[in-house]
């Protein structure tokens, strides 16, 4: 929840920024701020989710710490962002999960699910170390069980995320502009918001790359994020195509190395391996002043879960004809299920809320 203390700090920062406006050229946060005079909880949440957490405005700020005004926009907005995740969380009782030692929690969830699956599998009389595996995953975990597992977790995640999105959108919509003098921002049609999200335009919005240390700009954060996001999307597509093959056409796995599910999954898996690794490495080199350190676990657990999902998936593909296949399959399923379960309570939500904020920004820019 946005605490009164956080709101007050956000209002202080925005009061200073709104009287200065030197950072206007960096990203949408500042033009959006200029359309407001006082900053409500919803205004702050909206601006916080517009921020992509580069560092330009901190390094450019003549009022940054140790100046007595203590202005640190990236960190303040990061703190507000976390509290906004809690605010939009469904069910609310789970909101505190965003702050727990998330890496450990996610890993434990994955291990727990894997152990349970192994136990069930063994109990069901399946050979957990088959001497002559044929690559048929459904012999290890029957199709019906898989559908049930993913149906329940996926369904729950979808519902939780949808409710979170609805809450975020309502909150952003409650953030109104004031009819002050001055021309409208350079916006486009609403689809611009979606394009901005898909291209991460604002990670190099002023025509140059974003920074994560003073005067050190690089394109890598953007590219690793693209690999991660599109890798994830390709993996999702791979699974969907496979489900289609199975259910509609009755084509049974395993699919050949040149088949669509395997090609999509391999490409996606590689993206989802390289992307998170790169993001993790960049995080380590990032100026700590830019981030809210209490969120390291939140960020890193999501990176870890994505990485383990792709790593176990690629291993499974490589060894699907080997005796280790059954165990690898179960561990992979464990991570995917854990990823699904933790998605509504982890960093995954940033993609949805940022997109909602960018859509709102695009609609505002037109007015």
């Amino acid at each position: 929840m946005l605490s009164p203390d956080t709101i007050q700090r956000g209002q202080h920062v925005m009061a200073v920024c709104n009287a200065c406006r030197y950072c206007e050229g960096y990203c949408p946060v500042f033009p959006a701020m200029e359309k407001r005079l006082i900053f409500s909880k919803d205004d702050l949440a909206y601006l916080a989710n517009l921020c992509h957490n580069c560092g330009e405005c901190l390094y450019a700020c003549q009022f940054a710490p140790p100046h007595e005004f203590g202005i640190n926009v990236p960190r303040t907005l990061a703190e507000i962002r976390l509290e906004s995740y809690e605010e939009y969380c469904w069910p609310r009782a789970f909101a505190s999960l965003f702050r727990h030692e998330a890496v450990k929690a996610a890993a434990l969830t994955a291990i727990g699910i894997s152990v349970m699956l192994v136990a069930f599998t063994v109990a069901a009389g399946v050979d957990i170390w088959p001497a002559h595996p044929v690559g048929d995953f459904y012999r290890v975990v029957p199709h019906g069980v898989m559908v049930a597992l993913f149906g329940i977790t996926g369904g729950f995640a979808t519902v939780a995320l949808a409710i979170g999105c609805r809450r975020a959108s309502k909150s952003f919509q409650a953030s109104g502009t004031i009819p002050i003098a001055g021309p409208a921002a350079d916006g486009g049609p609403a689809v611009q918001g979606l394009l901005d999200a898909l291209t991460l335009r604002h990670l190099h919005s002023s025509g140059t790359n974003c920074t994560s240390s003073e005067e050190q700009r690089s394109p890598w954060r953007r590219w690793f994020h693209h690999l991660t996001m599109y890798g994830f999307a390709l993996c999702f597509a791979s699974t969907s195509v496979a489900a289609l093959y199975h259910v509609v056409f009755g084509w049974r796995a395993p699919y050949g190395y040149g088949s669509l599910p395997v090609v999509l999954g391999t490409l996606g898996g590689v993206g989802l391996l390289v992307g998170p690794l790169g993001l993790f490495a960049l995080r380590r080199r990032r100026d700590p002043a830019l981030s809210d350190r209490s969120q390291a676990g939140l960020d890193e657990s999501f990176i870890f879960m994505l990485l383990m999902t792709s790593a176990t998936g690629l291993l499974l593909l490589a060894f699907r004809g080997q005796p280790a296949m059954a165990v690898l399959l179960i561990v992979h399923l464990g991570f995917v299920l854990a990823l699904f379960v933790t998605m509504p309570y982890g960093k995954f939500v940033h993609g949805l809320y940022r997109t909602a904020a960018l859509l709102k920004y695009a609609s505002e820019a037109r007015t």
């Binding site: 009287a19 200065c20 050229g25 200029e34 009022f63 002023s206 005067e215």
Partner: protein, 454 residues
């Protein structure tokens, strides 16, 4: 280079490009480096044709005549013309060092023809310059205050520098003085303005103590500019003593009335547009008892001026507002009532010198006068905020410091605020300080570098 602001860094980079080995002595710690340049945001640049960053044209003659006008002729026209011509090359030169420029900010559209803006403002500019200096192998010493200068027969030999807990002597074949004015030296201000100076707020860096300026004057450099004058604007009285920068400025004056500590009006609030009115109100407030005044507006003005970082005092009635501002409720109510009665009907237009005025008051408000009758009423306390001082060192067209015998010193050059008084005898026009710093920084650096490697 004595000083690590815009002029000092432009000089350092230019001298380095001439092959000289360069050390920059910056008085501030790294986090507050850059002098007053860290509070700037644009630079005035002439151009004979539209550019991607500047509209239309801004010719040499127009620029020079602007300088002559704002200084009321108190300018060295030869040097002014040098600055104006040099300003044309500034954008390209700056971009070579990684400076990122942008079209004007939304709040400064009126400068779209004349001024190029630094993406992110002056601190971002200085970060880029410092990064370039480090890449080129320029040595930078932070927290370094110059405590002595060794001059023999008008030649610089060395500077005594207090840094890292000790005093060391740094010898050089030439020196560039780029250490700014003396506006943050409270004792010096008190010498000139007496006790009133204690109520002045310094808008910029606390490191412009004028130490180098005073050492040079004592060593026989010829002064330029009125030692008793400074550029001051009216800013929010709640600003910190130093370094409050742009966020403490307040531009509500013309939309309402301004009263002093007695609750009386004392000057025509509707006299002129920003920035001209902006520059006179600092002095006007300085002349009031206690060096304080209060800008009062009503709901009609809200949203029509740039806010300061401090919230206004807001009240539903004038006496209530007076109490919040520690003014006499009766006095303020009387002033507002008299003002409201004197307002003549007119059609309000804040973008022109409109016909909304008062009649029969002393002083009258000659434009934008509307009765203060719509709550909430807002009040902001005002104090004089000093931007810079005018006293400086006389230089020639090669940026050489001129000594009292009229001869230029062979190896002492000056750039930036410390010599801006040659061009700005009084007044100011937006962005010209950075132009002077950049153009003279380059000249001084080239000359000093050439002298050092010769």
């Amino acid at each position: 280079m004595l000083g690590g602001g815009n002029a000092g860094l432009c000089a350092a980079l230019s001298a380095r490009e001439r092959g000289a080995s360069v050390i920059v002595l910056e008085g501030a710690p790294r986090t507050f480096r850059g002098g007053n340049s860290r509070h700037t945001r644009n630079l005035r640049s002439m151009h004979d044709a539209p550019t991607p960053l500047l509209t239309d044209t801004y010719t040499e003659d127009e620029y020079v005549s602007d300088l002559v006008r704002v200084t009321a002729g108190k300018t060295n026209e030869e040097l002014a013309r040098l600055v104006v011509r040099g300003s044309a090359e500034c954008p390209a030169w700056m971009q070579r060092f990684g400076i990122r420029l942008q079209p004007p900010l939304r709040g400064t559209l009126h400068l779209g023809r004349t001024n190029i803006h630094f993406l992110g403002g002056g601190k971002a500019l200085m970060n880029s310059y410092y990064a370039a200096a480090e890449r080129l192998g320029i040595r930078i010493l932070y927290d370094a205050s110059v405590v002595g200068l060794d001059l023999v027969d008008g030649r610089f030999r060395s500077a005594s520098v207090s840094a890292n807990g000790g005093v060391e002597t740094i010898a050089a074949r030439s020196v560039v003085l780029a250490a700014g004015g003396f506006e943050s030296n409270l004792d010096w201000l008190r010498e000139i303005w007496g006790a009133a100076a204690d109520n002045f707020i310094i808008r910029g860096t606390p490191y412009n103590t004028g130490a180098v300026l005073r050492l040079m004057l004592d060593a026989g450099a010829r002064p330029v500019g009125d030692p008793t004058q400074c550029h001051a604007v009216a800013i929010d009285a709640r600003a910190p003593k130093f370094d409050g920068g742009i966020v403490t400025r307040l531009d509500s004056v013309s939309l309402g009335i301004v009263v002093n500590a007695h609750g009386d009006r004392f000057h025509d609030e509707g006299e002129d547009f920003w920035p001209k009115r902006y520059a006179i109100w600092g002095r006007l407030v300085a002349q009031q008892p206690g060096q304080i005044a209060y800008s009062i507006v009503d709901a009609k003005a809200i949203g029509h001026f740039m806010p300061s970082m401090f919230p206004p005092k807001a009240a539903q009635s004038i006496p209530e507002l007076a109490r919040m501002l520690d003014l006499s409720p009766e006095a303020l109510a009387r002033t507002v009532e008299q003002f409201n009665r004197a307002v003549l009907p007119g059609s309000f237009d804040h973008s022109s010198l409109d016909d909304c005025r008062t009649e029969g008051l002393s002083p009258n408000k000659t434009h934008w006068a509307r009765p203060l009758d719509t709550p909430p009423f807002w009040g902001y306390p005002l104090r004089p905020g000093i931007t810079f001082t005018y006293l400086g060192l006389k230089v020639d067209a090669r940026a050489r410091v001129v000594m009292t015998n009229g001869e230029p010193a062979a190896n002492i050059f000056a750039a930036g605020e410390i010599m801006a008084g040659n061009i700005l005898g009084q007044g100011y026009v937006a962005g010209v300080g950075m132009t002077i710093g950049t153009v003279f920084g380059r000249i001084a650096g080239e000359q000093a570098g050439q002298h050092a490697v010769a």
